[in-house]
Symmetry: D3
Amino acid sequence: MPANTALVVSAHSADFVWRAGGAIALHAAKGWEVTVICLSYGERGESAKLWRQPGMTMEKVKAGREAEAKRAAQVLGVHDIQFWDLGDYPINLTNEAFFRLVDVFRAIHPKFMLTHSEKDIYNHDHPAVTAWAQNARITAQAHGHNPHQKVLGAPPVFLFEPHQPEQCDWKPDVLLGIDSVWEKKRAAIECMEGQEHLWEYYTRVALQRGAQAARNSEKKITYGEGYQAVFPHVVETLA
Amino acid sequence: MPANTALVVSAHSADFVWRAGGAIALHAAKGWEVTVICLSYGERGESAKLWRQPGMTMEKVKAGREAEAKRAAQVLGVHDIQFWDLGDYPINLTNEAFFRLVDVFRAIHPKFMLTHSEKDIYNHDHPAVTAWAQNARITAQAHGHNPHQKVLGAPPVFLFEPHQPEQCDWKPDVLLGIDSVWEKKRAAIECMEGQEHLWEYYTRVALQRGAQAARNSEKKITYGEGYQAVFPHVVETLA
Amino acid sequence: MPANTALVVSAHSADFVWRAGGAIALHAAKGWEVTVICLSYGERGESAKLWRQPGMTMEKVKAGREAEAKRAAQVLGVHDIQFWDLGDYPINLTNEAFFRLVDVFRAIHPKFMLTHSEKDIYNHDHPAVTAWAQNARITAQAHGHNPHQKVLGAPPVFLFEPHQPEQCDWKPDVLLGIDSVWEKKRAAIECMEGQEHLWEYYTRVALQRGAQAARNSEKKITYGEGYQAVFPHVVETLA
Amino acid sequence: MPANTALVVSAHSADFVWRAGGAIALHAAKGWEVTVICLSYGERGESAKLWRQPGMTMEKVKAGREAEAKRAAQVLGVHDIQFWDLGDYPINLTNEAFFRLVDVFRAIHPKFMLTHSEKDIYNHDHPAVTAWAQNARITAQAHGHNPHQKVLGAPPVFLFEPHQPEQCDWKPDVLLGIDSVWEKKRAAIECMEGQEHLWEYYTRVALQRGAQAARNSEKKITYGEGYQAVFPHVVETLA
Amino acid sequence: MPANTALVVSAHSADFVWRAGGAIALHAAKGWEVTVICLSYGERGESAKLWRQPGMTMEKVKAGREAEAKRAAQVLGVHDIQFWDLGDYPINLTNEAFFRLVDVFRAIHPKFMLTHSEKDIYNHDHPAVTAWAQNARITAQAHGHNPHQKVLGAPPVFLFEPHQPEQCDWKPDVLLGIDSVWEKKRAAIECMEGQEHLWEYYTRVALQRGAQAARNSEKKITYGEGYQAVFPHVVETLA
Amino acid sequence: MPANTALVVSAHSADFVWRAGGAIALHAAKGWEVTVICLSYGERGESAKLWRQPGMTMEKVKAGREAEAKRAAQVLGVHDIQFWDLGDYPINLTNEAFFRLVDVFRAIHPKFMLTHSEKDIYNHDHPAVTAWAQNARITAQAHGHNPHQKVLGAPPVFLFEPHQPEQCDWKPDVLLGIDSVWEKKRAAIECMEGQEHLWEYYTRVALQRGAQAARNSEKKITYGEGYQAVFPHVVETLA
């Protein structure tokens, strides 16, 4: 039986770590094959620390960011991490990349997709990516697109927590407990040497979401991740 | 081991049938003990057909409505149905009834509660009831209320589909497949002889929600019920 | 054939003038019988100028406000103006007054109701009144309320423009041209001697709504009133 | 006197049938000339049944879809149906097509436009089309665009009901009774042989909107269509 | 010259600490006289740890809570702390207390008021208190209420951060840097011995709001508090 | 010490006058250097009166609009006004212009930016411009964009009042008193000879916003401008 699969579409090469590292590690630990697409390196807009180093070049920044992301992916148990180098700030979401993403959907048939929030007043690339990736998912569902392939079903889409959630009108309607993989997420976070100022910030996010998950469930949960679902949950029981 | 329990708070004595008959029958069929509180008979505002009969009185309307609701409850497998006779249009949500509902929470410790939508421009009783019932749930969580009792945990709350959902800003984020119990729900609906004009209306609602559940899940579902969750879903996996 | 009727529920005795004077005069001029209920005189919260006069008493304020409102009603062609003296800031919406309003609905069977916006951060009485009046309308629709009377149909409800519309999340989805009765509305406004600071303010509101009505319709309109509809418009043509 | 005109902008060649067939037939029956622009055939994304046939090609799908749409248009009394073949999933809204649509506005001066909802989480083409078509309408209003032509006035825009209305934050604030033309709409629906699974779904939609129209108006209405207005209604009376 | 004054209306006796301790200490340090009204002790709903002690009684809980709150108030530099003992879960907002709060407004003429968010799905008392306190503020503005007194002006109102902000649709549009008083706030937090599980939670909240304040301002800020303004900001410059 | 700077991004060459003339004059009067970028002349969509003149050409319209805007800018004390001639209805927001705007941010380091509302159902160019200009601001913050330059900080962004504010879901959360410069704003308005029909309209807007500013502040203010802030206000005091 083939493994379950999931797809994570990350605008910049560190987003999947802060925003979905727990979900990735959790499903990987259960044998899922998680594919992460890093559309850009965040080389212009999310590498401030690197650019403060003398003699820095765009190539060095990209190489450094790729190395960090790969290490983090390994820690989390990512099955496949891809770097599409589309540029950032602003990201250049080409037609070619669009159909490449459709091909990924058709190739791996993910059971769910994780990607960015629909609004982010601090970051133009994030909402651009989520609209584009959701559109690619819909094209992958079209019977007339490469009609010889099996069409995509209806995998749910969950949206990452943005950096300042309330300002982005993002509301977490799904809280995922990630205690069993927290050590991995923290280790992956620490791979992001160029953004050390965010390590404690996102550790606190995990603690707050964990406390909230516990409060909403009577379960003992310390660390969590929040997501906003795009589609209604189809369930067989309300419990 | 005690059975799982659920609580349904219905403003009028037929609401639980149209709006939650599938969920009730589904959980009852799995051995759950479902308690339904009918706060009023809907004797003034939801019994038009009865009032058109000559010689009708308030007592007869109430008796008729109670008999119908009891038959429907039996068909659905309701464990306990209670009639609190608080009046309707407008409903009279007394302090005494409030603490009686708190007592119910403490007595049965439901795993979830179903009740009305938070807005209903066609019906004042529905939003009044949902605010009041959610408030009672919170009081049941208070350690200082009857401190010798076990406090209520954090059961999720799901809101019924109102009659004209878009006008009530109600959005179904949970779709429940009810094919296995549809026959029971339809039979319960047909117990509501005083509101025969709604039988086909709510059958069509079930078919639309079923089609939507199928579309959102790749599952084969014909009949469904929609709910809006009040609290975030706490989950252990995103699949 | 009995005249068409309309009902205006005004929290304070001047609200119907600023907010609905044009609609009242327009329909009155077509032979409609418009009933205006002034639930309070606004004697505490909307009579600042009067209270600055030496020797002012509550009785004098109420008498002055009633006289002003009666004059304005006469100018507008109001059929029946009633003063229920429920107090203001905060208004005291009694149970008795509730059923009195239900009786008015049953007595005049208005073709539409005008009342306050659902939010007003500057005024607690306005949202309290609109919720209460809409609830009374629903009770008047209940077959079991005074079952010997003819029940109310489904008259549309239009919400007045509040003083600071954007702050109250009020959006005018209906723009009524009032050029033919503007002189009457202005004359009625000038009856409100205790609130002279508002004359020009509401004249400008009329000019802005008129310009917007023209812009949205290609019609020549100078003065307008905006309303927010509570219920969907049921139409026989889209033109 | 020239006939009244209306414009329907349909992303895919069947949308105008499910979503606006009643409005089209109703106005056509009154002598209106209704122009329908099918921007694409929905050949990739909305022709699943056709693609399941052996030997199917893109050309055959388009030809079949065009034939179906023409038959439906004839049944509804469409004055002019155009197929612009812009592709689908995703649709390719070219600059050239944009100005072609502006030309249509200038040529027919529609009294109203019907097009898609502003959000559709299941379909990227629908919101793209509505933004684009509304933009073309605005360009048609510009005096400096082809200054020798008569500029467009301010025709209202009504948005189609999407497939899952609540998920698309679509709220029907206009309900149109379509009983007199229901037979035509159903016949047009049955022309859509490639999407037979939707026939009953949209028949139920019509019944629900009809029941809701009746409930909101005291009129006897069985079948209806819902629309969401983009602009405020400019009216001469509130009745 | 009299000191500047501010009013904090706290549903339960610890709310002012978690939610506004920084603002209180900051203004107190500048010589402001801050009045805190604790409407209840939170004796039933927010004293779980105390109730787990053997032999606990309602009187002991209240006394303990009052002592904690007084110590915290002293640490923060509160000018006047009052305990109105209205009960909690649910709170009993009496008419008498309403006019007592109006009297406070008239007595101290606060330059701003802090109170709870307008929605809180975890806590019924919070939204009840904010509506009630805002209503009292409006009554205090009424010239006809105790006409011999000076009426209240238009002090802005800022809403506390609730426990789970996104679930409460609370959006912080004001971020207050509190570094200079953080030690006091932390010390006040540690006075709340009955809710030790919240110490770290609200310390993390302060760190997140501080990081966000820094991000939105280029200032160096470590600890912050977020508020949502009810009214528009009236300013003399945009910088 | 270099002057303080501000940036105004105006879709059409008159927008900065109606919508921000007061803010510009106010800050200019304090010695600020305000840069205004007119992305287009509004030559097609906002020059109706000019196009009604015989023999009008696109070049004459543009020249006339530029002359008007320059005169208005001079009256207001604008430091630098630029005309980028990108076309209008629809505006053509090129990649080249995007980086030109980024360069402006990097060159002047504005303390705040003013631009259009995020929704405008009457005008496609306005929301397109605001999204684009906010995106340019974000790119100007990126350390990897022209890494030798000083990156932009976090200047707040305030959104102009659109023509029909409620229809555009625009809510003024900042009210700026402009009495001291009203004469200049009115004089600048009168420079816009091609849009004389808007002079009184925007004078009334200024009076309404002034009255509202007074009402929200107890200050004496006659003329005002409203803005909607994109980012939270970072403050050092709540008074």
